[in-house]
Symmetry: C2
Subunit: 336 residues, 2 copies
């Protein structure tokens, strides 16, 4: 298996990418390769400090670099020798089986849609994110690929995210909740009301009905379906609020017991590690004709390593074949 | 001034309502009355235990009770002797100057729209909630009155929530952010993109552009504008996550230092009090022809007391007159 890795994506590129790739060795099988795509000189500067990397790492040089602030579609159309575009082309041409990037999310989505197309039967791809909670991980889909959704899109996010959650968390029949403003059937905006029936009528989805914002942290379900606008707001809120509340609580505790400042700080470190997004290895863009994992720009080497591990897993477990099968079974059921 | 209080709303009605009303005495002016609306026998049972309540409390008996699970519009149409409907009628007839309820939110919104109509120039009323953060309170509008919004609605939420935030927090020119999926102008769904121009072109709004979920906890702005679906998801997420993260952090700390369990528990109590929604006194439904404050069903007597205090303040500071003036000034500006 060959996995492409955009070496130019993280805030500290290519250091975190090179280190993350090097750390993959233990879980790679014989013949597996990671292909680092990007500025060759910068990559080699870090790579050459390690021993034995040639056995499982290759470098594919590129000369252009799509940055976080660049307009995604425009960048993907014009910067044809950028790491993101080259990697998508390599995936299309079968030179890699999966790709991982911590770069401009919009550009990753645009490149994947342009070069890999959609899986058969998929209306619109969606990004699924595993969020750590005290009740275990919850998968939210979509978190930003598709900000103007239709009911069919949300239904398919339920199908695809269930398959993904089962693959990475081992929960056999993940409970799927539709994010809304109340548990009752009648609650929600037009989009949610029209999506409910589709999810309810699909025997392949373990649909539990509407869930509310607070249910995400109550262990109510393993998969939350929402449109990409709402999902992105929710994801960033969780990120910002988690950091803020933890900081605030620790400040209060330290103020109350200055003598314990040091041990509170240590406990804080444990918590932050435990609920660190880097442990979850990026978010797949589900529904495209390939395996594309998008990582947080602030990912460190562990985040990159975990994303590569998940990418390998999704290829091996044939997640895309499962998606196509399930969607076509659903379509036949609907026609029957 | 006379303020109506639905005595049947909280989870522990009418105890919290009666206690909350009794606690208002210190901030009432001579002649001010609180009118408790609901089951007279139940109210009097608690009221009669107190002394001197007749000077500032009246009871308006009703026989029906809209419950949390009732379908709002249907309930308001048929239960004409319910506390929520009677209170709205009293407000319409000038028998009270404001009303407060911790009951069924949808029914409060429906009753207010039916009996109080909209303020001149207002397209759709919106609920504004003050959320505690470590950087100070942030007002989010709308959080659930209007789940299918148009750009004009969001624009007016920016205007109305600014006036409300100024009135209750004292910030002279609150910064207004539009909740979206990225800071750049081009980011967002169709609704957000079309709302941006309206907010930017209104000289009465201190518009700072798009904000993301994480900015709510960074002190980026004092007012966040969003549609009622997104706002409701966000509000409930904040509520659920705040409780969950605080509990989780304290559990980790206690596990790390069992000897300090007691003082950690005490610190937790301080934190919970400090960021308790009861301190903020309910959420006004902005844009209707009256002052309507909606409280959390889990409100305690302090929550009710604070809501009555805020209601008095909004009447006194002529918030509705300010809204009408500002919206008509904006409309004239647009026509000029």
């Amino acid at each position: 298996m060959r996995i492409g890795l955009d070496a130019m994506g993280t805030d500290r590129a290519p250091v975190e990418e090179v280190c993350g790739a090097l750390e993959c060795r233990p879980f790679l099988d014989a013949g597996d390769k990671i292909v680092l795509v990007g500025d060759e000189a910068a990559i080699r500067k870090h790579l050459d400090q390690a021993d034995g990397w040639r056995e499982f790492i290759e470098v594919r040089p590129t000369t252009q670099h799509i940055r976080m602030g660049d307009a995604p579609v425009e960048a993907v159309r014009t910067m044809l020798d950028s790491s993101i575009v080259v990697m998508a082309q390599m995936h299309r041409d079968g030179l890699v089986d999966a790709c991982v990037s911590a770069g401009n999310t919009g550009a990753c989505v645009a490149a994947a849609q342009m070069y890999l197309r959609r899986l058969r039967g998929v209306h619109r791809p969606g990004i699924a994110v595993l969020t750590p909670t005290f009740h275990g991980p919850v998968t939210i889909c979509d978190v930003g690929a598709n900000v103007n959704c239709r009911p069919q899109h949300l239904h398919q996010y339920g199908v695809m995210a269930s398959i993904y959650a089962r693959t990475v968390t081992g929960v056999q029949s993940p409970r799927v909740g539709l994010l809304s403003v109340g548990e009752e059937d009648a609650k929600g905006n037009d989009l949610v009301k029209r999506t409910r029936e589709l999810l309810r009528d699909d025997p392949n989805v373990n649909f539990i009905g509407n869930v509310e914002g607070r249910d995400l942290f109550r262990g109510a379900c393993e998969v939350v379906v929402c449109d990409g606008f709402v999902g992105n707001v929710v994801l960033k809120l969780i990120e910002g609020m988690g950091a803020s509340v933890i900081r605030g609580v620790l400040a209060e505790l330290t103020a109350a017991n200055p003598a314990h400042a040091l041990e509170i700080k240590q406990a804080a470190r444990t918590i932050v590690t435990k609920y660190d997004f880097n442990e979850y290895g990026g978010a797949p863009l589900l529904g495209v004709g390939g395996i594309c994992i998008i990582c947080h720009g602030a990912s460190d080497h562990r985040g990159i390593m975990n994303a590569l591990r998940v990418a390998k897993d999704l290829v091996k477990r044939q997640v895309n074949q499962q998606i196509v099968q399930q969607l076509s079974a659903g379509a036949e059921g609907a026609n029957a």
